[in-house]
C-alpha cells in the first residue's frame, strides 16, 4: 500500500515534467502548425539557466583558509559571501528558485528569436522539413552548451531547507516509513501552477481567446483582421518559457547535461501524440498518465511478471493509442492524419 502510494507520487512528479514539456510542444503545434524537434533543447536551456546562475553566484576569490594552520592553505570563497556574509550564502543556496526570474526573460527572448529567425520561414514547408531543420537546431544548441559547460552532468542542488525528505507518511497517517523528497513535491505543485497559469491565460484573456480561435481555424481569424502571425510569435515564446521553467526546476532532480533535451524530446513527442496533436488538455492528461504508468511499470512486482516492461511501457502505450485511437486521447478530427 505504501509502495503504491509512493509510486503514485513518483508518477505524478515525473508526469508533471512530461506535461510541462508536452504543453509547450502541443501549443506550438496547435497554433503554428510546426513540429518542433528543438523543443527538448529549450527544456535543456532552461536547466542551464539554473546552472549559469549558480556559476555566476559562486564566482569566487582565493582566500586564506584559516582553519588550516600548518601551512598556507587557500580556499575559494564566493564574492557574494565576502560582500554580504551569511546573506550571500543564502542567495547562493537559493540559486535554483532565483533562476526562475532569470529564466523567464531569457527563455522568452530565445523563443522569440527562434520563431522570428527560423521557424517563421517553415510554416508553409512540409512537416518533414520542419522536423529536420529543428532537429539540426537542437543539435547545434546542445553542442553550444557542451562547449561551454562540458559533457558531464552539473549538480545543481535545491535550497538546503528543502533538500531533505518530507515525512508525508506521518502527515497522512501511513506510517513513518513513507518519506518523499521535498523538492519533488515542490516540483509537482509548481508544474500544477504553471499548467493552471497557461490555461487561465488562454481561457480568460482576449489574447488567449484569439489564440484558441486561431488554433481552431486560423484562416477565419486571419480574415477578421487580427494579426494572428504576430500573436503566434508570442505563443512560441510562451511555449519556450514553459519548457524552460520545467527545465529550471528539474535541475535539482536530474543534474543537467547537454543531451538531456534529446532524452526528453522523444518522450514528450510521445506524450503529445498520445494526448492528441494540438490538444492542450490532452497533453497534460497524457503527461500525467504516462508518468504514472512508467512509475508503476518500474515496481519490482510488475517487472517480475513482465520483464522489461519498465523500459518500453511509454512506447507501448503510444503504439497502442496511435493504432487504436489515432487522434490520441483528446485530439481533434483530421489533425495531421495525412
Amino acid at each position: 500500500m505504501d509502495a503504491i502510494f509512493l509510486q503514485i507520487l513518483n508518477g505524478l512528479d515525473k508526469g508533471g515534467a512530461y506535461a510541462l514539456i508536452a504543453l509547450g510542444l502541443t501549443l506550438v503545434f496547435g497554433t503554428l502548425g510546426v513540429v518542433n524537434f528543438a523543443h527538448g533543447a529549450l527544456f535543456m536551456l532552461g536547466a542551464f539557466c539554473a546552472v549559469t546562475l549558480q556559476k555566476i553566484l559562486t564566482i569566487s576569490q582565493k582566500v586564506r583558509d584559516e582553519s588550516i594552520t600548518f601551512f598556507e592553505a587557500y580556499k575559494e570563497q564566493p564574492y557574494l559571501e565576502i560582500w554580504f556574509g551569511d546573506f550571500g550564502t543564502k542567495i547562493i543556496d537559493w540559486s535554483v528558485p532565483i533562476s526562475i526570474l532569470l529564466a523567464i526573460p531569457i527563455m522568452l527572448l530565445i523563443g522569440l528569436a527562434m520563431e522570428r529567425g527560423l521557424i517563421r520561414h517553415f510554416y508553409k514547408r512540409p512537416h518533414a522539413d520542419q522536423i529536420l531543420v529543428t532537429f539540426g537546431l537542437a543539435i547545434v544548441l546542445q553542442e553550444i552548451i557542451r562547449s561551454f559547460f562540458g559533457a558531464n552532468p552539473i549538480p545543481t542542488p535545491a535550497p538546503d531547507i528543502v533538500a531533505g525528505s518530507a515525512q508525508i507518511g506521518v502527515l497522512l497517517g501511513l506510517g513513518e516509513s513513507v518519506v518523499y523528497p521535498w523538492w519533488r513535491i515542490i516540483y509537482l505543485l509548481f508544474s500544477g501552477l504553471v499548467i493552471f497559469l497557461v490555461f487561465a491565460f488562454l481561457q480568460f484573456t482576449t489574447f488567449g481567446m484569439v489564440v484558441r480561435a486561431g488554433m481552431h481555424d486560423r484562416e477565419t481569424v486571419g480574415l477578421l483582421g487580427i494579426d494572428v502571425e504576430h500573436k503566434f510569435t508570442i505563443v512560441f515564446g510562451i511555449g519556450a518559457v514553459v519548457a524552460g521553467l520545467a527545465g529550471v526546476m528539474y535541475a535539482p532532480i536530474l543534474p543537467p547535461d547537454y543531451h538531456m533535451g534529446m532524452d526528453f524530446l522523444v518522450l514528450s513527442f510521445v506524450v503529445v501524440v498520445v494526448g492528441g496533436m494540438g490538444s492542450l488538455g490532452g497533453a497534460v492528461a497524457a503527461g500525467f498518465l504516462l508518468g504514472l504508468l512508467q512509475s508503476f511499470a518500474s515496481m519490482n512486482e510488475i517487472k517480475a511478471i513482465l520483464p522489461g516492461i519498465d523500459q518500453i511501457i511509454i512506447y507501448l502505450v503510444a503504439v497502442v493509442i496511435i493504432l487504436v485511437r489515432p487522434r490520441g486521447l483528446m485530439g481533434r478530427k483530421g489533425v495531421m492524419e495525412d
Binding site: V133, G308, I322
Partner: protein, 387 residues
C-alpha cells in the same frame, strides 16, 4: 524522360561500377583512399539507398530505421558465433531477419501516415533499443555488446586454437582491401536493384502513392501492400548494411539502434537529395568523409593549417574553428543540416543541377554568336532523376 531506355540503364551501371571499384584510386588525393573509410562509405551508402526507397519514393518518413541496422549486426555476429566465420550465411541471415522485423514493424506502422507513422517507427525503435539494453541481454550482451569468444560453437568451422578467428569468404580474409571490395560489390548490386526499382512500374506506382494516395485507391490499387513492400525492401537494405558492419568488425552493440542513428540516415538522404538515385550515396559519403576529417582535427593541427595568417588573426580563427572540429563535429553536422534544409531542400544533387544550369546559361550567352549547342550534355542519372 519518363520512359528511360534499357540501354541507358546498363551504361549507368557500368559507369557506377567502374567508379566504385576504382574509388581507392580517385579518392586517395583527398585522403579517403584507404579501406576502413571506403568500407564506411559503402555500408552507409547501402543504408541510405535503402532508406531512400521508402522515403524517396513513398514519402513515408521512418524515424526508426536503425532497428534494422542493429538487428542485422546482431544476426551476423550470432551467425559468426554459432555457424561459421564465412560471411555469406551471415549476410543472408541478416537480410532475412531484418526483413522479418520489417514485416512486423511495417505492418503496424503503415496503418497510419504522416507524423503518426514517424512516431510509430520511432516508438518501435526505442522499444527495441531499450530491450536490447535490458531484458534481452542474453541475446545482445547488453552494454558490452555482442562479441566473438573462444567458446563459440561455430559448428561448420574447424575449432581454432590461436586467438579469435576473423571473418572470411571461402578462405579470403575480410580485412583491408578485400573487405572493401566485398562491400563494394554488394553496393553495386544494391545500387542496381535500386535503379531497377526506380525505373519499374512498381517504382512509378510508389511515386504515385506519394503524390496522391487517395487517388490511387480509386484507380484500383490497394496501396498498403505497395507501402509494405517498400518498407520491407528498405529494411532489408538496412539489415545488409548492419551485417556488413559486423563483417568488417565482428561486434554489435545496441547503440546502433538508437534514434540518433535513425536520424543520421535521414540526414544523409536529405543532404544528398531525397528521391534521387545517387543522392543518398553521395550524402552518406559526404557525411562520413567530413566526420572522419573533422573529428580527427585538434587545435594544434588547426594552428598549423592557419599558420599563414598573422598571429592575432590565427588565434581568433583557430579559437572559432576549434568549436567545429574534434568533439565539435556534431556542431558542424547540425549546422550543415540546417543550412541544407533552409537553402537547398533538394540536397546536393539539386545544388549541382542548379549550378549546371547556371553555367550553361553563362556559356550559352558567351557562345550565342559562335556555334550551335556544343555544350556538355548532362550526366544522365545525376541530374535528370529528381523524382
Amino acid at each position: 524522360m519518363s520512359m528511360p531506355s534499357l540501354r541507358n540503364d546498363w551504361v549507368v551501371m557500368a559507369i557506377f561500377a567502374a567508379a566504385v571499384l576504382t574509388a581507392p584510386i580517385w579518392l586517395s588525393p583527398v585522403g579517403a583512399g584507404y579501406p576502413d573509410l571506403l568500407q564506411k562509405f559503402a555500408i552507409f551508402g547501402l543504408f541510405a539507398i535503402g532508406f531512400n526507397i521508402l522515403f524517396g519514393l513513398t514519402g513515408y518518413l521512418s524515424f526508426g530505421h536503425a532497428v534494422f541496422l542493429g538487428v542485422g549486426s546482431y544476426t551476423a555476429v550470432w551467425s559468426f558465433k554459432l555457424l561459421t566465420m564465412n560471411v555469406l550465411p551471415a549476410i543472408a541471415l541478416s537480410i532475412l531477419v531484418a526483413g522479418i522485423f520489417a514485416v512486423v514493424i511495417g505492418y503496424l506502422s503503415l496503418r497510419r501516415s504522416g507524423i503518426y507513422f514517424s512516431i510509430l517507427t520511432l516508438a518501435f525503435a526505442q522499444m527495441s533499443y531499450n530491450l536490447a539494453y535490458s531484458v534481452l541481454t542474453p541475446i545482445t550482451n547488453g552494454e558490452t555488446g555482442l562479441q566473438l569468444t573462444m567458446q563459440d560453437a561455430r559448428i561448420f568451422d574447424e575449432p581454432t586454437t590461436s586467438g579469435l578467428p576473423s571473418t572470411e569468404l571461402f578462405g579470403m580474409s575480410m580485412s583491408g582491401y578485400s573487405g572493401f571490395y566485398f562491400c563494394a560489390v554488394l553496393l553495386i548490386i544494391g545500387f542496381f536493384i535500386s535503379l531497377r526499382i526506380f525505373r519499374s512500374p512498381f517504382g512509378l506506382k510508389l511515386l504515385a502513392i506519394k503524390s496522391n494516395q487517395t487517388r490511387m485507391r480509386y484507380t484500383g490499387f490497394n496501396t498498403k501492400p505497395y507501402l509494405l513492400a517498400a518498407f520491407i525492401i528498405s529494411g532489408m537494405y538496412a539489415g545488409l548494411a548492419g551485417s556488413l558492419m559486423a563483417v568488417t568488425d565482428p561486434l554489435a552493440g545496441a547503440e546502433r539502434m538508437q534514434w540518433t542513428a535513425s536520424g543520421e540516415v535521414v540526414l544523409m538522404t536529405i543532404l544528398g537529395g531525397v528521391g534521387t538515385l545517387i543522392g543518398p550515396l553521395l550524402g552518406a559519403g559526404i557525411i562520413k568523409y567530413f566526420e572522419n576529417i573533422f573529428s580527427a582535427l585538434n587545435p594544434g593541427e588547426l594552428h598549423q593549417i592557419f599558420s599563414w595568417l598573422p598571429d592575432w588573426l590565427e588565434n581568433i580563427v583557430v579559437a572559432i574553428s576549434s568549436e567545429f572540429v574534434g568533439d565539435g563535429w556534431h556542431m558542424t553536422l547540425g549546422l550543415s543540416f540546417m543550412l541544407v534544409v533552409i537553402f537547398l531542400p533538394g540536397g546536393v544533387i539539386e545544388g549541382v543541377g542548379r549550378a549546371y544550369t547556371k553555367i550553361r546559361t553563362l556559356l550559352k550567352s558567351d557562345e550565342a554568336n559562335e556555334s550551335d549547342e556544343s555544350v556538355l550534355e548532362p550526366e544522365p542519372v545525376l541530374s535528370a532523376e529528381k523524382e
